[in-house]
Amino acid sequence: MASYISRGRFQGVDAATPRVFGTMSMTRPESSVDMLELDDATLAGRVADGSTIALEVLYDRYSRVVLSFATRILGDRQSGEELLQEVFLRTWQQARNYSAERGSFVTWLLSITHNMSIDEIRKRRRRPQRADSADPVLMLTNVTDDSPSVEEFAELGDLRLTMIRAIQTLPMAQRSAIELAYYRGLTQREIAEELGQPLGTIKTRMRLGMRKLREYLETHEMELA
């Protein structure tokens, strides 16, 4: 993992190092060794141009991140690995849609992962449940988990800790509504039915919870726009 960090392809929020996107060497790199030096946005551009080597480099950088995220939502590693392939195939097909102006490549990649994971969960709900399917216990926070997080891997400082604290400020009812939407892909109406609550109540909880999260993150100088 240290070798990926030292290549500096992700500038993060280090104020001493200006964020650089789209840099190109004078000679167009052809080998995977040259590709390793490129930042994510440039690699994404190469993928859009049809470079399998560029996709391979991005896979090496972020497959663990994507797998961790997918497994957390889907609940089992096998499903996570299957989705990992699909995420990178989608990246291969839609790399041209990525723009560095909208944010980092890893957040774009994880958005794809989240969306595809939720789609898979929704498909499962429409199918008869397998006997061995697990209903994952999912929490936005897990204070006992000491493993490094995606953000630590991607050099984003104390994001995870800040996010954990932000979630902990929410009343349980608001946190539950957000978690059911985020991890299980339920709509407001479905959440209301599952919890036996009025739709308006769920809407309000989700709204207030998200506003509190935004306010907390903005107060702690997290760039949100």
């Binding site: 896979y59 961790s68 291969w92 097909q93 997080s149 993150l217």
Partner: protein
């Protein structure tokens, strides 16, 4: 409805609908209908788009706070690379190529007299409207040019719209899954409307909906689409037409084809492309 802190910046009535759902939109917790309305609004309203972006960043931070697990198995990468180089995997797409691919899959418009069935039906249908005399005169079909699309054969009279007898809405192609476009005409006096359009997917069910000034959604009718993709159909408004601020056409998956506000003729629009990380259809 909880007032928003940025309410003063949003002077468009459509903003209220979007802002009331903006947090849930960012979480992906809206049903397909509401999501489609908000998505369309965000194409046009920069203020609401900024608001949505702030909540989407909250969701992105949720992604990044996930604990890191073990790396994937070694064979996964090889399987992926094998699939990339296989013949049946499409090359990288640009942002518009899926539309080109879908258009190529559509059957070409039939030639000959069958194209004019909608036009032949139009005259007796138009008489049913209270202002039908002017309406019927406004319709003319160009039988001499078989290559023109249906909306070139039927030209709605702009003077009717300016006279206030009939309101015109233009159907904008805003849904990536359907090329449907055309016009919706509304007669205020007898509460009837008419949809005229082309390039709708005939294998899908399309419904016409409206949102009134109370924010209530009501279905007007189910469209009957000609195999060529043409539509010419009348419907009755469930309430007074003037109460409806927005009209939508949806396909069976809830994808939206937004019908814009009142116009005096063909509405030319070029909505800025909203980059989304992943289409969820």
């Amino acid at each position: 409805m909880i007032p928003t802190e940025n309410a003063g910046q949003h002077d468009n009535g459509d903003c209220a609908f979007a802002l009331d759902r903006i947090e849930s939109f960012a979480l992906g917790a809206l049903d397909s209908f509401d999501r489609g309305i908000v998505e369309h609004h965000l194409r046009w309203c920069e203020s609401c788009r900024r608001e949505a972006a702030r909540f989407e960043r909250v969701v992105e931070f949720m992604h990044l706070s996930t604990p890191l697990g073990p790396p994937p198995s070694d064979n996964i990468k090889q399987q992926l690379m094998n699939r990339l180089t296989s013949d049946d995997l499409a090359p990288p797409l640009d942002s518009h190529s899926h539309r080109v691919e879908r258009s190529a899959e559509r059957a070409p418009s039939p030639r000959g007299w069958t194209r004019y069935i909608p036009a032949a039906v139009a005259a007796p249908l138009a008489i049913a409207l209270l202002v039908v005399g002017a309406w019927a005169n406004s319709l003319r079909t160009d039988l001499s040019d078989r290559e023109q699309a249906l909306d070139n054969q039927i030209e709605l009279n702009g003077s009717l719209a300016r006279g206030g007898q009939v309101r015109l809405f233009s159907v904008e192609q805003s849904c990536p899954d359907c090329e449907g476009n055309g016009h919706v005409g509304v007669s205020e006096s007898n509460g009837m409307g008419m949809v005229v359009g082309q390039d709708f997917n005939p294998s899908q069910q399309h419904d016409v909906w409206g949102v009134n000034d109370k924010g209530e959604k009501k279905m007007f009718c189910k469209l009957e689409v000609d195999p060529s993709g043409a539509v010419m159909q009348m419907f009755t408004f469930p309430d007074a037409p003037s109460a409806f601020t927005d009209v939508y056409i949806t396909d069976e998956y809830g994808a939206m084809i937004y019908v814009s506000g009142e116009s005096s003729g063909t509405h030319e629009s070029t909505p800025s492309e909203k980059q989304t990380p992943l289409p969820t259809t």
